[in-house]
């Protein structure tokens, strides 16, 4: 094993860990007697600096990745690179939201845990090995459980963390169970080799164990992305967690988990993709029949498709009935996960699908951080996240109301905001992979449900803009928070008006085809 190469490949993670330690040293060592605001600001700034250093690390590490022997452990560039940069940027944004919160007195510890969890996210977006995946996932998840519980004075926070932890531990067990079957069937832990082994095994008759393994893995990852029916934790956690932590869970953890799903989908399609390419060559020499695709290559998309439909339908319908904005965002997150899963279910070997999925999850993550930022400010001013807490927001804080308007309309997919292009990109990619009646019907379903979603997003905007307020005292947000929120809203608008910007940035991570 080449440790120099390992260090190079894990530069971003290393940068985050060093920043985490620095935060602890600064906070517990030098600033013990300082005011909370100063400690929070210093911790957040060190965290942001760490994220910036890690972004530099992603680029500095090059697109080499890391391999032990002939097995790749960590990928680099491509989807992994995009997801890593996105995770770091989103983490930095959630850290900046911390400056204006008072849910904890231990700002330094909070930032350190965030950075470590983000490092876990970086690892799983690049991981190509079952064990590395599991380690990264646990690093991320443990951080998230702690972050959820961080508001020690709030009972809701503790309840949410416990629920999250119990569901999470169970899903981790499912995932590990599935991984163990894969290892048992193939004798390897490296993703491509596992899949290759599965191909070999299915050549002599598909083993039912393989399908069990796939279902277990889907269950484990379905929990991470809050897909129905593994979504039960999401509304409670989104409601109970402190606002910056909820924003982190809703964005960074989602990006990382979808990046992992992308790796798995790639791995499953890798072998038929190779055969397909080889097929082009052999067809010229002989008229041999196309290679038969083993059952599990069709089983995996089928599982994702079922999760997708269930999430779209249930998420959107349940969101209609919510009176808490956080829960509404949780159910809308479930619905958005459903749309993205559709992109993964009709996945293509070319990079177009992956880029569309990444485009969606990136812009969704960005938007949802902004949404939680606004909810956080309103919550501090009114003490509640009920729909009625947003009454008259346009008078109480015109800027916050305008930000909310942009973000929620983007989530609903109204052009020219970025959410529209994300949906358009994704659905065009789905139909580009396969234009049969089933993908078409599913895309139609997704579009129909995004029409439904406009109703509940408008419920919030209606309170902010239309209905009369019973309290018209102005709401003041911290200038940093306000600046972050305005920047996010501006990004949503600008990226929506120039959709090619983000697209070409994502494409720049992939080797030219």
């Amino acid at each position: 094993m080449n440790y120099a190469a390992l260090f190079r490949a894990t530069l971003p993670e290393t940068a985050l860990e060093i920043a985490a330690l620095l935060v602890l040293v600064a906070d517990l060592g030098f600033l013990r007697k300082a005011a909370l605001e100063i400690r929070a600001a210093v911790a957040a700034l060190i965290g942001v600096a760490g994220c910036a250093a890690a972004v530099w690390g992603v680029y500095a590490a090059g697109w080499a990745g890391f391999s032990a022997g002939s097995d790749q452990l960590l990928a680099a560039g491509g989807s992994a690179g995009v997801a890593q940069v996105a995770i770091l940027v989103l983490t930095a944004l959630t850290l900046l939201l911390l400056i204006d919160t008072d849910f904890t007195r231990n700002a330094g510890e909070y930032v350190a845990v965030v950075l470590m969890a983000a490092a876990g996210g970086l690892i799983i977006s690049a991981a190509q090995d079952l064990l590395v995946i599991f380690t990264g996932l646990e690093l991320l998840s443990l951080g998230l459980y702690i972050l959820t519980a961080f508001a020690k004075k709030s009972e809701k926070s503790a309840e949410a963390a416990l629920k999250y932890y119990l569901f999470g531990a169970m899903s981790a067990a499912f995932l590990l169970f599935g991984f163990s079957y894969l290892y048992g069937l193939s004798g390897y832990t490296s993703l491509p080799r596992v899949i290759l082994g599965a191909y070999m095994a299915s050549a002599t008759g598909a083993s039912p164990l393989l399908f069990i393994a796939l279902v277990m893995i889907a269950a484990g990852l379905g929990f991470k992305i809050a897909a129905v029916p593994f979504h039960l934790w999401a509304p409670d956690t989104y409601e109970g967690a402190p606002a910056p932590a909820a924003a982190f869970i809703a964005s960074v953890s989602k990006v990382a988990s979808f990046a992992l799903l992308l790796s798995i989908s790639y791995a499953i399609l890798w072998f038929p993709g190779m055969l397909h390419m080889a097929g082009h060559v052999t067809v010229k020499f002989s008229t041999s029949p196309a290679p038969v695709t083993p059952g599990f290559v069709t089983a995996w998309p089928l599982i994702l498709m079922l999760l997708s439909v269930a999430s779209m339908v249930f998420g959107n319908l349940a969101a209609l009935a919510q009176s808490s904005v956080r829960r509404l965002l949780a159910y809308s997150a479930i619905a958005h996960a459903g749309y993205i899963l559709l992109g993964l279910a009709f996945f293509s070997w070319s990079n177009l699908s992956a880029q569309a999925v990444l485009y969606y999850i990136l812009t969704y993550g960005l938007t949802t951080i902004g949404a939680f930022g606004v909810v956080g400010v309103v919550e501090r001013a009114t003490g509640s996240d009920r729909l009625d807490a947003f009454l008259g927001l346009h008078k109480r804080s015109p800027v916050l109301a305008a930000v909310l308007l942009v973000l929620f309309l983007s989530l609903a997919g109204i052009p020219p905001l970025v959410g529209f292009w994300a949906k358009f990109n994704l659905f065009a990619a789905v139909l580009g992979v396969s234009a049969g009646p089933i993908p078409f019907a599913l895309v139609a379903l997704a579009i129909a449900f995004s029409a439904v979603s406009l109703y509940y997003y408008l419920q919030v905007l209606k309170r902010a803009y239309v209905m009369p307020a019973n309290d018209e005292s102005p709401i003041h947000a911290h200038p940093v928070t306000l600046a972050v929120l305005i920047a996010i809203a501006a990004a949503v608008l600008v990226l929506g008006c120039f959709p090619a910007l983000l697209q070409s940035w994502i494409a720049s991570f992939y080797p030219a085809m």
Partner: protein
């Protein structure tokens, strides 16, 4: 140059939103300046391109990887509708001169809506068109729900959800057309020449057509229109009836018929006398004409009369589209312009001139008010607009509806015969409304005279006179000299039919 009508509207909306709250006058004058600038651009362009063919204004790659272009183009149909938008926009500002509540926000949403409408009429790229189409939806919600009246939140939500469901159907159809055509380009010209398979057009056409027709108020998807029109503030109902419903009809024409011409071919079998989508939609349009007129005849609310009359008149547009011949399509486009102006005028009189003074729209309460004596301006303006709406010669409605009916006769005489009922009822409901609201035949008692003296209505203001004059002159000019618009419409329709027929 025409592209600037879009840019200045959006820039104007942004500035209006940032104007100080306490100065409604500044917002008003600003909005008027922006709307007038848009109208000036539209008129100047129209005057210099009379009868000219299709012209590409801007063409920049927007999303190169998907072949989406920021492509603005104008032909005769677009220019006429842009002209209509300019007129309606200026008139709308004039009739919202008395908006005092959150004036700057009102005009910000108003100008954003106008910008979206200009954009739709000028888009030469399918997805650009869709983007502008959706941009026009959201401001409507806020305009109605914040500044509206009767059941405004219900009406606003209903309108937005209807629009959004319609646009969802359109989006599905567009994505399907884009991928079927090979995912290379989304410009209308490229898609029209992509050779979409006939079987594909057969199912995609009704999807897209109905999606757009929902916004055009096609029966039975029209129910958003009367409630929306009634609840909306005056300027918004003028825009809704005047230009937003035209967005739907324009989409039906440009996208539905333009991209999927074979969707109108016969099915090869007939079911209860219907042999193609063309028959289906034409009969729905005819039903809309008659139904809208009959329902308008029994309303007790003045504004509902006008709301249902819009459904009836938009039926003529859709019927004209389904004739698929030169004269019918000419009539449909002319009817879009004509109805835009006349409906705007009717809504302005009912919503602004009358309602803002009497604070009621119920005929039973208007009848004893002797409005013909107390508001003679409103009474005579309504007589003028009503006569135009009935389709009397000399007004734009006559030329437009006549052409549609002639075109429909050539296609299927039964369409003309049944729609004729709608025209007759159209005379009746306008007559009834006129009589009940203004000319109720009772002499005032001495007591009533006294209270009328005590509660004098506010005098008619100059913006109202200017607005009525603008809209009135527009319908009169087009009615007396229809060539002024038809010279532009005819070549454009000819090109569209030729493109669709191949």
């Amino acid at each position: 140059m025409l592209a600037w009508s879009i840019y200045i509207s959006f820039a104007g909306a942004l500035v209006a939103a940032l104007l100080p709250k306490g100065k409604p006058a500044a917002a008003r004058w600003w909005a008027l300046a922006v709307a007038v600038a848009g109208l000036a651009i539209a008129i100047a362009d129209y005057a210099t391109h009379m009868g000219a063919g299709r012209e590409v204004i801007v063409d920049v790659p927007w999303v190169p990887s998907m072949g989406v272009h920021f492509l603005l183009a104008a032909d005769g149909i677009s220019r006429v509708l842009v002209l209509l938008t300019g007129i309606a926009a200026v008139a709308g500002v004039l009739f919202s001169w008395n908006v005092e509540l959150r004036t700057n926000q009102f005009f910000a949403f108003y100008l954003a809506l106008i910008g979206g409408v200009y954009g739709v009429f000028l888009s030469g790229d399918l997805f650009l068109l869709f983007v502008f189409y959706e941009i026009a939806i959201v401001p409507k919600y806020f305009l109605i729900s914040i500044w509206g009246s009767t059941r405004r939140e219900y009406a606003a939500m209903k309108l937005v959800l209807y629009s959004f469901v319609g646009s969802a159907m359109v989006l599905i159809g567009l994505l399907a057309a884009y991928t079927t055509a090979g995912s290379h380009s989304t410009t209308l010209a490229a898609l029209a020449h992509a050779g979409l398979p006939v079987s594909f057009q057969m199912w995609c056409f009704p999807l897209v057509f109905v999606g757009f027709a929902i916004l055009a108020g096609m029966w039975p998807f029209h129910t958003w229109a009367p409630t929306g029109h009634v609840a909306a503030p005056t300027a918004a109902s003028m825009l809704l009836a005047g230009v937003v419903m035209k967005l739907g009809a324009y989409g039906c024409l440009r996208v539905g018929i333009g991209l999927f011409p074979h969707g109108l071919d016969p099915w090869g079998f007939s079911f209860i006398g219907l042999g193609s989508w063309r028959d289906v939609f034409a009969w729905l349009a005819v039903i809309g004409i008659v139904y809208g007129a009959l329902v308008a005849l029994v309303q007790t609310d003045f504004k509902f009369v006008i709301g249902y009359s819009s459904v009836s008149h938009m039926g003529f547009v859709l019927l004209g589209l389904m004739t698929l011949n030169q004269i019918g399509l000419d009539g449909a486009v002319l009817q879009m312009f004509s109805h835009g102006v006349i409906a705007g005028l009717l809504f302005a009189i009912v919503g602004r001139v009358v309602y803002d003074r009497t604070h009621t729209r119920q005929f039973s309460e208007l009848e004893p008010m002797h409005l013909s004596r107390r508001l003679p301006f409103a009474a005579w303006a309504f007589v003028f607009a009503g006569v135009a709406s009935m389709g009397l010669p000399g007004f734009s409605g006559f030329v437009a509806e006549l052409q549609v009916l002639v075109g429909a006769w050539q296609a299927n005489p039964w369409w003309t015969i049944v729609s004729g009922i709608g025209i007759i009822v159209g005379v009746a409901y306008i007559w009834r409304a006129m009589q009940k609201a203004f000319f109720a035949d009772t002499l005032p008692s001495a007591h009533e005279l006294e209270s009328e003296h005590a509660h004098k209505f506010d005098p008619i203001t100059w913006p109202e006179i200017a607005g009525v004059a603008l809209l009135g002159i527009s319908t009169l000019v087009v009615g007396l000299y229809p060539r002024i618009l038809l010279d532009s419409i005819e070549p454009a329709v000819k090109a569209l039919l030729a493109g669709g027929a191949q």
